[in-house]
């Protein structure tokens, strides 16, 4: 079996690139779905896009999601945080 190929001097960089690009694919799929969802609702006279834009600007929304945002960041940064602590 041939030696495993790596594009970068450190193979870990290849793994990281792979993770990031795979994550990009998931993000794109979600973006696409949300776009389609908003379009479908708009065709039924539910202007959810305007509702979203309006709500996003409200201080109440930012306050409501603050805890969720913090929890998200804690989960997202869990591994490097644990590694650095150790």
């Amino acid at each position: 079996m041939a030696e495993r190929y790596h594009a970068f001097p450190d193979p870990v960089q290849d793994q990281l690139l792979g993770l990031i690009l795979a994550l990009g694919a998931e993000v794109w799929v979600l973006r696409d779905r949300i776009t389609l969802l908003e379009q479908a609702l708009a065709e039924r006279d539910v202007s959810v896009t305007e509702l979203i834009e309006e709500r996003a600007r409200q201080p109440e929304h930012l306050a409501a999601v603050a805890d969720d945002r913090t929890a998200f960041l804690e989960r997202f940064l869990r591994v490097p945080t644990l590694e650095l602590k150790n």
């Binding site: 079996m1 190929y5 290849d14």
Partner: protein, 377 residues
Amino acid sequence: MPQLPPLTQHDCAYLDYIEGLKVYNYTRHVKTLLRDYDEKAARFEEEKGYLPSTMGEAATLIEPDPLYQLACGIQRTSQVLMWTAGIDSVKPHREQLLAGLNGSAQNEAHGRLELNPGLKLPAWYVENDIHLVPGGYWGDELVGAVYQRVLAVYSTSWRSGRDPGFLQAFAASAPKRDYRRILDVGCATGNTTFALRRVYSESEEVVGIDLSAAALKWAHASAEEQGLAITFSQRYSGDTGYPDESFDLIAGHFILHEQPPDSVDATVREVFRLLRPGGHLMFLEPPPYHAVPPQVAFLEDFDTRGNGEPFWGPFLSRDFPAVLREAGFENVDEGPLEYQEPGYWGSAALMRTGEFQPYNRWVTRADKPPVDRAAKE
């Protein structure tokens, strides 16, 4: 074509992303690498008095560039993601697809399927995941469906629509119009074989051979659906088992660079044996390294190490016409296929920059000496 399962929104968006990633990589990163190469080559010439003339010299100018490393990393990752997307899109329909394929295998309304479960697959074939497809082209019964699903993304024609015209052009480029028996070597899912059958509609028999039972099953099902009379048979190109002088035209598309040199040699000897005197061969492959600028050869050589094609570089570095002459063929000729494919991106991964290059589809042709000349010798 057998019915592939419908694409979900997830499938469409995922495949679209992958194609977009590849296109971005080629049209931005690779184009930048080529532009930067021209500047570096000019400095090389100032220092040494000549432009880089070998792949090795071009490599010294390109390989250290972090952008090259990024482009290679993106290309490899996009291939891995492409296959997983294809597999994921057919997996939920596995039982239904297999039932359809196995049922179709019994159907011989137009052609025939000959499988050989006892065929020993070469070690180089089973130990290497060609093109990075998990399990190779033989490991999964549904590899034919997966391949057909992602083929357009592989060639970055998913959104623009894949133009099959070049296969017709290749099939029609043989010297005669009235071949009796035609062989397609390494036919996979049959796309080239279909083109041969359509172009030579009056031929007695068109045969496609391949090592992969899974690919042949898909090819047969496709042919039956299209009403094409083709025999698909599971055989090794280096030792087919057919009698001497069985065919008068033998063709192959993108098959030789997937084999080690000794298997290429065995295939050439076998093709010589199988051809009738006066018969013709033609092989369509990526351009050999001697036919392209050194920086193009180096970028194309990524496929050797980065795309599960370890025999790519060894084949494209060889003097294949000399191999054919050594085997006894005459009128050996090589050059670009006469076909300008609109929107065609290129044959090798990192050279799909969107600019058509005439050498991208390279054909090598040769004739078996006619009876009288062979008898005299």
